[in-house]
């Protein structure tokens, strides 16, 4: 069919690597050949995942480690910033909120570039020698997701505090206890925010590529490996990683969904 062949041609254009698997004979249509490769790559990918390939798991482990560490740092900074802005009034507060919201959509490559410039030999923090280490990747991802956590938690904390404010003042609740109560009662929403941050961190490729350099056994994570293997034509490994990435992403989203439905069921939300 015509439409189909256009799709395959598009695929072909965008993923030149597929071509390697195709044996061109007058009889085989290019499309069919790609389909076959696709299926074959999937089979290999699953085999890789199931076999417990060491390289594969090394990459997965590093990805998770880097993104979890970045998440932890972002939660500490982001929740603190979010709560602070939510509960205080100061000149320029509106601007800070706008900045938070703007930085939620920071392009990863830009963050990567800035961190690169900062950490490179000539940069202000060049002496630390962090460029092309997992630490650099953690820094980049932290910068990437802290605004998300700060912006969303600011909104959540402010909304709930607005609800509780008169009650707390009526009861003369000390500030720190009021804050703790709000954070505790908003915990389901805040955990969902953290999960969203983690999802963004682990799926991001631009920043870690620039500051990590995708060095084998050192700074290679899932996304950078996928980019590399795809361009090399090793679709099986790329797909295997893609499958794992999707699975993690799905697990995170499922967790978020079940959390928010638990919260709704208990009317805590």
């Amino acid at each position: 069919m015509r439409a189909k062949s256009i799709v395959f041609r598009l695929l072909d254009l965008h993923l030149p690597a597929f071509r390697k698997f195709c044996i061109f004979t007058p009889e085989t249509e290019q499309g069919l050949c790609i389909l076959h490769d696709f299926a074959e790559s999937f089979r290999l990918a699953f085999a890789l995942v199931v076999s417990g390939d060491r390289d594969l798991y090394e990459i997965i482990l590093l990805s998770v480690q880097v993104s979890l560490t970045a998440l932890l740092a972002s939660c500490i900074i982001g929740f603190a910033l979010g709560t602070l802005v939510a509960l205080t009034r100061f000149p320029g507060r509106g601007l800070v909120i706008v900045l938070f919201n703007t930085f939620m959509g920071l392009p990863p490559v830009v963050v990567g570039l800035l961190v690169y410039l900062t950490l490179s030999r000539a940069g202000p923090l060049g002496t630390l020698g962090l460029l092309y280490t997992p630490a650099a990747m953690v820094i980049a991802q932290t910068i990437l997701i802290t605004p998300i956590i700060a912006a969303l938690s600011r909104q959540i904390v402010e909304d709930l505090f607005g609800e509780y404010d008169e009650l707390f003042r009526s009861l003369s609740v000390p500030v720190h206890q009021a804050m703790a109560a709000v954070l505790w009662d908003a915990r389901y929403s805040l955990i969902t925010v953290a999960l969203a941050g983690f999802g963004r961190a682990i799926a991001e490729v631009g920043a870690v590529m620039i500051v990590g350099g995708n060095i084998d056994h050192l700074t290679r994570v899932m996304t950078t490996a996928i980019a590399l293997e795809t361009s090399k034509g090793d679709l099986a490994l790329a797909l295997a990683l893609g499958i794992v990435l999707l699975a993690i992403s799905m697990a995170v989203n499922a967790a978020a969904l079940s959390l928010s439905s638990t919260a709704a069921r208990q009317a805590y939300a």
């Binding site: 509780y164 009650l167 009526s170 805590y268």
Partner: protein, 258 residues
């Protein structure tokens, strides 16, 4: 002459509580020239009010008269634009507010279970254990719902929980904003009994209601509000037998008061 062992006034060292800070009375309440403006309107306007040392004061008045605003002002949740409020000679402060409890017209409950909503306040006031909590829940008939999320309670149950929470603070002054507005007759009786009992223990209650029968049953005196002012303040008996203001007469006759 022989020395008589007369205990000094205010000497509390024998009360078993150790170094108690002197507990100055919050009553009488004295309000002068109170004004509150918002949105370009004088919502509370040159309001004067004196409340005696004890008893239950009922506040009546049409919707929008400023009853809820008055309670908020008296509790110090909002600051007046003009005028003064003095509780037993003290200006409003955190300490004064901590000895009052306000039951909001719209209950504000924590996103927690019924029991935890009370625990929060009890812990705040330094209580431990669950005895007092269960006693309070029993009192307002919510013991069987202790573990239920507070926000899943029915409207009337939420109001009862709010009252229990107010009582948990052991206030000297109880400000109640239509606490029985959505309660069934049995619960209304329960709540009235609780307030009466609190009154007997010396708690000063200010009770906003639209229920004229309730005002008759509970009130020692009645404050009738109209357009942000006190249109009439009289002993309950006097008020219900011969209301002096036209607005109050119309209100009680069920006519629209504008």
């Amino acid at each position: 002459m022989r020395d008589l062992a007369v205990p000094m006034v205010g000497d509390r060292t024998d009360a078993g509580g150790g170094a108690l800070t002197p507990h100055l009375p919050l009553m009488p309440l004295r309000v002068r020239g109170l004004g509150y403006r918002a949105g370009g309107r004088a919502l509370i306007d040159e309001l004067d009010l004196d409340l005696s040392v004890s008893g239950i004061t009922m506040v009546l008045g049409p919707n929008g008269a400023g009853k809820s605003l008055l309670l908020r002002l008296l509790h110090g949740l909002i600051a007046p634009t003009t005028g003064t409020i003095s509780w037993g000679g003290l200006p409003l402060s955190r300490e004064v507010r901590a000895r009052q409890a306000l039951v909001f017209q719209k209950p504000v409950l924590l996103r927690r279970s019924v029991g935890e909503n009370l625990d929060f306040v009890l812990r705040l006031r330094g209580a431990t254990g669950t005895g007092r909590r269960d006693q309070l829940l029993e009192q307002v008939g919510l013991l069987h719902l202790a573990k239920q999320p507070a926000r899943l309670l029915s409207g009337g149950e939420q109001q009862r929980l709010s009252l229990a929470r107010a009582l948990a603070t052991e206030p000297d002054v109880l400000l109640l904003d239509e606490p029985t507005a959505s309660l069934d007759p049995a619960s209304v009786q329960t709540i009235e009994a609780i307030v009466r009992e609190a009154g007997r223990r010396g708690v000063r209650a200010v009770f906003v209601t639209h229920d004229i029968g309730q005002a008759r049953r509970l009130g020692d005196d009645v404050v009738f509000m109209h357009r942000g002012r006190v249109a009439e303040h009289a002993a309950s008996k006097v008020f219900f037998e011969s209301p002096a203001s036209e607005a109050a007469r119309d209100f009680m006759a069920g006519r629209i008061v504008l």
